[in-house]
């Protein structure tokens, strides 16, 4: 596409899906088929335009920017540089893949599809806005819209579990959003701008670093919550398993990335080359990475394993972002590793969640014990699964190897840098080993899923008469439609192609994004050198050991020689159930409620107190105020209710006042 055309199409990318959402809503009133065709058309056009943008940028390298000054009082500012073109394309691809796969997936058993598709397209527009926004204000606006529209995916099934997960999702999203809003206002006041390009120079002139840090941390809460960063990851393992599979793929593959995108934007623009910020991200990333992998290893739900794996991979990416800051101007490897791992993880999770979707739409089960051996005799499914699993496991010749190697290189570089400066390097070595160990754990939980699907023997089932008949006749039910086969195969094919030819594919894409990371473009790298392969080999060794250990500890053999996968993660280790919810429900809310309830009744109580003081009966009668005895006495003494006034304090005061007036008059006139 030419520059002029890209200029005119910039806002189209954001508003076209929004427009499409309303059209699909209308189409839903006509027929389901028309609606599905509309949705497909919308995502195909979006993808085509986005690819046009990417190729256009690749050819002439002109950054396009546009603004809509009147929107929301502050204006929307969009920009299309290399990194936005790459990530916008990944987003459009994700929507294209899930849109095509969703046609078959949803056709079987789902209701309220008009609603789902409406919000599906609305979220596409919002996500595009997040990636294309050139100032944090624009990003925030679309980020909030995205949070709310994607909520409908999580609760789509309307089961109690889904509602609870949705509650968590929304609570974290709103909390994060509000923290971010505070941070943005603070940053705006301090730096005077929110435009990403101007922030660095503006921030570097500010003497009060405390304000910048406060703002930065608050913004990090907002973006980190969406990314699934520890300790705000709680929504992630809950929300993914309950959402429909295409929605899980998007939540995991792209919505978390929008959070990461924000973290990167803050890191490279506000805290550029700031080691303290980088070290903080490294620690948070390591915890997220290791914790996610541990949770995944213990999970016995297919999609939960993938969800926890997402959390773990987000940790890998966060380490990359941390390295961006700590490596200073030498951060080109880290920049490349970060963006490539983001992109790779999007593609892995697109594929793997669609595989989970294939399983779910055929069996309606996700528990590993009920899925045993379901993949036997389905070679295509095995190839698809393996492509994703080997990719995410970082096996050489698959794309994940490239990005993980780059990140590993970054850690090694940081260790040598720190050693060169005479700093303490012990914890960096520890970080490196945790990194490699987590790589092994990734392999181990993917292998566990593989064992379940393709190696275990299916449970003894008692097929119905109809199924028996089919089995006897040798008719095998088709488990995927041709469209789904094509969609999944294409998604699976990308990974080995990227992995085998990194120099022609991934490096080129990564170089386009370098300006956004404020990094130099890295030259050609010998990914398959012995030194680089060594790290991967260590990870694989770790993986084998962990797999064997996990199969010993987390699996029980039943009497008939079957494996049974145990759910032995202790319930009290759930951060949400044992900390956040009790803190919110049993401490914060009651405390706030008690204080505010006191304030609320303050004036009314005061008036009541005055009433009782002024209209109170004199002390002689006070003991008679209430109770049956008092009533009897009143009757006996024939004190009518109205007489209370005459015997009250106010009456006394009145008499006293009259006396004083009389005295005053006497003093003034007669004396």
């Amino acid at each position: 596409m030419s520059v002029e055309m890209r200029q005119t199409m910039l806002f189209f990318l954001v508003f076209w899906p929004v427009f499409g959402a309303f059209v699909s809503w209308l189409a839903d009133m006509v027929s389901a088929r028309l609606r599905d065709n509309t949705v497909t058309a919308v995502v195909v056009v979006e993808f085509a335009v986005m690819v046009g943008m990417l190729t256009g940028f690749y050819q002439d390298g002109t950054v396009i920017s546009g603004s809509m000054a009147s929107f929301g009082g502050w204006g929307l500012n969009l920009e299309m540089d290399g990194s936005r073109a790459v990530y916008g394309t990944v987003a459009a691809l994700m929507w294209l893949g899930t849109g095509l796969f969703g046609r078959e997936y949803f056709a079987s058993h789902y209701k309220s599809l008009g609603r789902y598709n409406f919000f599906y397209l609305l979220t596409l527009g919002a996500t595009m806005g997040v990636f294309l926004g050139s100032d944090l204000f624009t990003v925030f606006i679309f980020f909030e819209i995205m949070s709310f529209t994607s909520y409908t995916w999580v609760v789509h099934d309307e089961t109690p579990g889904a509602m609870r997960a949705g509650q968590t999702y929304l609570a974290v999203a709103i909390f994060g959003g509000m923290a971010m809003l505070f941070g943005l206002a603070l940053l705006y006041i301090t730096a005077g701008t929110l435009a990403l390009d101007e922030l660095y120079s503006a921030v570097s002139q500010i003497p009060e670093k405390g304000k910048v840090w406060t703002a930065g941390l608050l913004i990090l809460i907002g973006f980190g919550a969406k990314a699934g960063m520890f300790p705000l990851h709680i929504w992630l393992p809950k929300a993914h398993p309950v959402a429909p599979a295409p929605a899980s793929a998007l939540l995991s593959g792209i919505l978390t990335k929008s959070g990461i995108f924000g973290v990167i934007a803050v890191t490279v623009n506000i805290f550029r080359y700031n080691p303290a910020w980088g070290n903080m991200l490294l620690v948070l990333g390591a915890v997220t990475m290791f914790g996610g992998a541990l949770l995944a290893l213990f999970s016995v739900n297919f999609k939960r394993v993938l969800a926890c794996s997402s959390m773990s991979q987000i940790g890998f990416i966060l380490i990359g972002v941390g390295l961006l800051a700590v490596l200073g101007e030498e951060n080109m490897l880290a920049a490349r590793g970060t963006v490539l791992h983001m992109m790779n993880h999007s593609l892995f999770k697109l594929l793997l969640f669609m595989v989970a979707g294939v399983i779910y739409m055929n069996t309606h089960k996700l528990n590993l014990n009920e899925l045993k051996g379901w993949g036997r005799g389905k070679p295509l499914l095995m190839v698809l699964y393996l492509s994703g699993a080997l990719g995410i496991g970082g096996i050489p010749l698959f794309s994940g190897y490239i990005s993980k190697t780059l990140l590993h290189e970054g850690i090694v570089e940081y260790a040598s840098l720190a050693a060169g400066q005479g700093g303490f390097t012990g914890w960096i070595t520890l970080l490196e080993w945790v990194f490699l160990l987590t790589g092994g754990m990734t392999l181990a939980y993917m292998a566990k899923l593989f064992t379940v699907l393709f190696i275990d023997r299916p449970q003894q089932t008692h097929p119905t008469a109809k199924e028996k008949k089919r089995l006897e006749k040798g008719i095998r039910k088709r488990y995927m439609s041709p469209l789904s086969v094509v969609t999944l195969s294409v998604a699976a094919l990308i990974l080995p192609v990227f992995g085998i030819l990194p120099g022609f594919t991934m490096d080129k894409l990564a170089d386009l994004t370098a300006p956004f990371f404020r990094a130099e473009t890295a030259g050609d790298i010998a990914y398959f050198s012995l030194n680089n392969l060594k790290g991967s080999l260590i990870s694989i060794l770790f993986g084998v050991v962990i797999y064997v250990a996990a199969m010993r500890l987390l699996v029980r053999k039943t009497a008939d020689g079957q494996r049974e996968y145990l759910d032995c993660w202790p319930a009290w280790l759930d951060l949400e159930d044992s900390v956040y919810r009790p803190l919110h429900g049993k401490v914060l809310l009651p405390l706030l409620g008690a204080v505010c309830g006191f304030c609320d009744k303050l004036a009314d109580r005061g008036i009541g107190l005055m009433n009782r003081a002024i209209f109170r009966e004199k002390s002689r009668d006070y003991w008679m105020e209430k109770g049956p005895t008092a009533e009897k006495l009143r009757k006996k003494l024939r004190i009518r209710h109205e007489q209370i006034l005459a015997s009250s304090l106010s009456f006394g005061l009145l008499l006293c006042a009259a006396g004083m007036v009389a005295t005053l008059l006497y003093l003034l006139y007669w004396r």
């Binding site: 909030e144 909520y151 409908t152 609760v155 309307e158 509602m163 709103i174 509000m178 409620g593 309830g597």
Partner: protein, 481 residues
């Protein structure tokens, strides 16, 4: 003298409705008052756009004068009143079929509109006070319309609280009038001479007094009592517009009588902001605890109107702009919420939030509107509430009020979180209620639904294109600072 017409038309119409039995029949009542609403709206628009209107002053004493004049703030107020009263009026036609004595309600409703016009176009403090007091009295029958013991008790509470507030205002007027250099409102204030302790005390008492109508802690108690017993249209205008009359009183006091510089940095500002911050958090927290739907919305009003007061109390341009825009946003949103609450209560007979389940299935269009305006009140972009919240946050951070620069935005954020907690679940549980829930179609008729949709649309539109409103706010701010 043209300004008298928009004031007298509804008053005259209201008296006619109350006095003439011909107009007590439903059809006649609807046609007559419907025409009055529309004519009134047209008159107000003419008054707004013809500009520079004022009446000669009618002197009661040396420095006491009754006069009408229309400045930017007044235009905004009467425009808002006319729009809201028209929209809610048509809703009331359909709503009141569930009540007795429709004519009585409509009659006093029209009188209230006239009084609010007087409040909005008042050109001096005394005129303002007159309109303010009349407004309280003629809106009283709206609260006690149902004539149940609770309604009468609530109306008494409303009367006592409002009168107390108005007398506080009167005290201030007594003290300040001799010190003013001009009889009418002057942008930026016309206080002559030194600002001494007595002046500050008088200003504080005035602010507190007008704060009663605006639901300011500790005298917000009438709101949660009066709203649940009043009919929904009455709650809507009480909450949406009449509380704003209190806000207008605060604006007239600070920005047009004593001037922002007189109280900047004084103890008045600190104490006032402290009260406001308490109100913001307390209102939302109480709303979260409250199960009664209309009472919950009443507490929400307590909190939200204090957003506006906060914008006024931080005494800078950003804050005033945010406050002015939030006046409009909150009116639109809260009126929509009360009207939807009325629809739900009339259609289901349930008044508790916990009893209103699966509403989204029963009345999808209505609950869609609920969700949209709820998001607006929480302040989620692109709905309107976000625009003003951002202005208020930036304004208070810029104001250099020491610890309050950060405490006030923090209160806003906490309140927003609580607001999400008390408004969103009703809408979301309404749609995502699980399959197998028995539902019936309870969607209201067009006369009730159209006003709600209009206001929900306004919420989105004002959020996407608030430019004109913000410009108006900035022009007002430019005049007074």
């Amino acid at each position: 003298m043209f300004l008298l017409i928009p004031i007298l038309l509804p008053v005259l119409a209201g008296v006619l409705v109350l006095a003439m039995p011909v107009l007590h029949r439903r059809t006649a009542l609807r046609w007559f008052s419907g025409c009055v609403f529309v004519a009134e709206l047209a008159l107000v628009l003419i008054a707004i756009f013809s500009g520079g209107m004022a009446t000669p002053a009618l002197y009661l004493g040396d420095n006491l004068a009754l006069m009408l004049s229309l400045d930017g703030m007044g235009k905004l107020f009467i425009g808002l009143v006319a729009c809201i009263f028209t929209v809610v009026g048509f809703y009331a036609f359909s709503y009141l079929t569930h009540e007795e004595r429709e004519w009585q309600f409509i009659g006093f409703y029209l009188l209230t509109e006239g009084a609010l016009m007087l409040v909005g176009s008042a050109g001096s403090l005394v005129t303002f006070y007159m309109g303010y007091k009349i407004m309280t009295l003629v809106s009283l029958p709206l609260v006690l319309h149902e004539r149940t013991p609770e309604a009468i008790a609530a109306a008494k509470k409303y009367l006592y609280y409002s009168s107390f507030g108005a007398f506080c205002g009167l005290f201030g007027i007594f003290v300040l009038t001799p010190m003013l250099t001009s009889v009418g409102f002057t942008p930026g204030g016309s206080l002559g001479g030194e600002v001494d302790g007595l002046t500050l005390t008088a200003v504080f008492i005035m602010l507190l007094g007008f704060g009663v109508k605006a639901g300011l802690f500790p005298l917000h108690g009438w709101l949660p009592t009066a709203h649940p017993v009043a009919p929904a249209p009455a709650s809507a205008v009480l909450s949406g517009v009449i509380t704003k009359a209190g806000v207008l009183g605060v604006i007239r006091t600070i920005y047009y009588t004593v001037g922002p510089d007189a109280i900047r940095g004084s103890w008045v500002q600190w104490v006032y902001i402290t009260l406001i911050c308490i109100t913001i958090v307390m209102g939302s927290a109480m709303a979260l605890r409250e199960d009664g739907l209309k009472k919950r919305l009443a507490y929400s009003t307590v909190s939200q109107v204090s957003y506006i007061l906060l914008g006024l109390a931080i005494l800078n341009e950003q804050g005033l702009t945010g406050a002015v825009s939030h006046i409009v946003f909150h009116s639109v949103i809260k009126d929509a919420l009360f009207m939807i609450a009325g629809i739900m209560i009339v259609k289901t007979g349930c008044t508790k939030v916990s009893e209103l389940t699966a509403m989204g299935r029963k009345m999808p269009a209505t609950i869609w509107c609920w969700v949209i305006v709820s998001l607006g009140l929480v302040g989620i972009p692109p709905m309107s509430g976000f625009v003003s919240k951002w202005q208020l946050m930036v304004g208070s951070m810029e104001s250099g009020m020491g610890v309050f620069s950060y405490l006030a935005p923090a209160a806003l954020i906490v309140s927003a979180l609580l607001t999400a907690g008390y408004l969103l679940p009703l809408g979301l549980r309404g749609f995502f209620c699980g399959s197998g829930v028995k539902t019936e179609d309870l969607e209201p008729d067009g006369l009730m639904l159209t006003p709600v949709i209009l206001l929900a649309g306004a919420t989105v539109w004002l959020g996407i294109a608030p430019g004109g409103l913000l410009d108006l706010g900035r022009s007002i701010a430019a005049m007074v600072f």
